[in-house]
């Protein structure tokens, strides 16, 4: 049972991790605490159902279309809503994302209704027996996808010009501007990457938690808790935090009481903030600068 709980914890944790990465990327390039990050994924999940069931597209066509749509959604939110107020203080930016959050929740509920919907899965749901432990294919599937997306992001940020430029803007936007890097375009790209990640998260998480306008609310809060582990700055910190939360809440739910599952993440953040308010991992370097 321990093995199963840990594995399924890593599986959900890896989706928290992807969301947390998007949160960190947007925050460190734009000072924006993006409350709508979860809803980008929610929109992706609804679109996924629409493409699969209504239009009868194949699973992979659906993935492609959903990710393209949420990427554009991220870009559109930056361009239409965030860019005009980009120079405002963080509270204004944050408030604007609350607006986006409610707009997306409302519009999706209006179009597709507020009841929860099941999302068709793309794998055999029978668990496989791995040395006595029953392993759900869904968990392995999600971990596999999350790893693949992680590798793509790693490649993008370390081996492409625009990816490196995005990190340069994080590092010193003023000097990036001086070097001729189009900072506004890079910020738009950052929101695009956040949408790109959300598209995958939406499709991967939908079979686990069902699809509804509010489906991502709890996930988003946990992703934020994870991001705070890395001081809202370190991607490595956010990923480690997310996996810890995923595993810890599963263990708490499995061994103590299932009603404690959600509280676990918050107990962790309260303890973390009490002892290390600057985050747990990877922020020391920034302090030195």
């Amino acid at each position: 049972m321990l093995g199963q709980l840990i594995l399924s914890g890593i599986a959900t944790g890896s989706l928290y991790a992807l969301t947390a990465i998007a949160v960190v990327l947007v925050f460190r390039n734009t000072r924006t605490i993006n409350l709508a990050q979860g809803d980008f994924a929610m929109v992706g999940a609804f679109l996924g159902i629409y493409f699969l069931k209504q239009l009868g597209f194949s699973y992979y066509t659906t993935v492609l279309l959903v990710v393209a749509s949420t990427t554009l959604l991220g870009v559109a939110v930056e361009w239409l809503i965030m860019r005009p107020i980009a120079k405002s203080d963080w509270l204004t930016l944050f408030t604007a994302t609350i607006g986006v959050f409610y707009i997306l929740t409302g519009v999706m509920g209006w179009i597709w209704g507020r009841d929860t919907k099941a999302f068709p899965v793309n794998f055999d749901p029978t668990p496989i027996d791995l040395g006595g432990a029953l392993i759900s294919m869904g968990h392995l599937y999600n971990i596999g996808w999350a790893l693949a997306i992680g590798v793509v992001l790693y490649w993008f940020f370390n081996h492409t010009k625009q990816g490196i430029a995005m990190r340069a803007v994080t590092d010193d936007p003023e000097i990036a501007h001086l070097m001729g890097i189009p900072v506004k375009f890079i910020v738009m790209l950052t929101w695009g990457v956040a949408g790109f990640i959300a598209g995958f998260v939406g499709i991967l998480i939908a079979p686990i938690i069902y699809v509804s306008p509010e489906m991502m609310d709890e996930v988003l809060v946990k992703a934020y808790v994870a991001a705070v582990f890395g001081g809202l700055y370190s991607i490595r910190g956010a990923v480690i935090g997310a996996l810890m939360i995923g595993v810890a809440e599963n263990l708490a739910g499995g061994y103590l009481d299932s009603s404690l599952k959600t509280s676990t993440a918050f107990i962790m953040i309260v303890v973390l903030l009490a002892f290390r308010p600057q985050g747990l991992i990877g922020v020391q370097k920034r302090r030195e600068i």
């Binding site: 370390n158 010009k161 490196i164 990190r167 340069a168 590092d171 990036a176 001086l178 070097m179």
Partner: protein, 242 residues
């Protein structure tokens, strides 16, 4: 021929006037220095040229073309690169990533790789550390990286803001030796802002002494070395013996 010709340029930050009509020229293949105490307007002058600050009035002619108010992206693409004050390298990027960012505005990959090789040849220390993070370098190495990053734009004019600031004398002379070499061998024009007057006048051909947003004195390096007024405007009092 004149590369850069600034005429009666004024600039201000809100209500504070930083430049009160300065005129400066940088001829081709020359080394020109802007001297002066803190707050004289030297850095603002560079910022106006690089496009970070738009001048309020006056003109900036680059290779015969008016460029005042152009974006840093345009300016970088058209042959002017800057090494900012305090190095300001990207600390969380590796040495080679820093250099690649200097060439952001360029498209030709072969040429960029060629220049990367050249820069690493010019600064062998950077070659050894090419996969290290910029923030892990020493001050002198960071300055070399900042210069290398500027060179990656393949500039005709390289502007340097206080390149000697906070560096050990031996490192300073090493860096200036490299700059002179670039000037002599490749004809790279240099516009150097320096507080270290002796050093600046030793390497440059021509100099402008600024005070409170105006050019007080200008002349060849030799003339300025002999001019008592230079020391006065600089330190507020004549220096006893040069």
């Amino acid at each position: 021929m004149t590369l850069l010709k600034i005429n009666q340029m004024e600039a201000s930050y809100g209500a504070i006037t930083a430049l009160r009509g300065i005129s400066i020229e940088v001829p081709e293949r020359s080394i020109v220095t802007l001297l002066g105490a803190n707050g004289a307007g030297k850095s603002t002058t560079l910022k106006c040229i690089s496009g970070v600050v738009a001048p309020r009035s006056g003109s900036i002619e680059w290779q015969g073309k008016e460029i005042a108010g152009r974006s840093p992206n345009w300016v970088t693409r058209n042959g002017i690169a800057q090494v900012p004050e305090g190095r300001r390298i990207f600390k969380d990027l590796t040495v080679s990533e820093n250099l690649i960012m200097g060439a952001y505005t360029r498209k030709n990959k072969d040429e960029i790789n060629e220049d990367l090789e050249q820069v690493l040849e010019l600064f062998p220390l950077l070659k050894e550390r090419s996969s290290q993070l910029g923030g892990s370098l020493s001050g002198g190495e960071q300055q070399m990286l900042a210069i290398g990053r500027g060179l990656m734009a393949r500039p005709v004019l390289l502007m340097l803001d206080e390149p000697s600031l906070g560096l050990a004398p031996i490192v300073i002379s090493d860096i200036f030796e490299k700059l002179l070499k670039l000037n002599e061998e490749r004809g790279l024009a240099l516009l150097i802002v320096e507080q270290n007057m002796k050093l600046a006048l030793k390497v440059s051909h021509y100099g402008y002494v600024m005070q409170l947003g105006q050019v007080m004195v200008e002349g060849t390096a030799e003339e300025l070395r002999e001019d008592k007024k230079v020391y006065e405007s600089y330190l507020g009092a004549p220096e006893k013996s040069p």
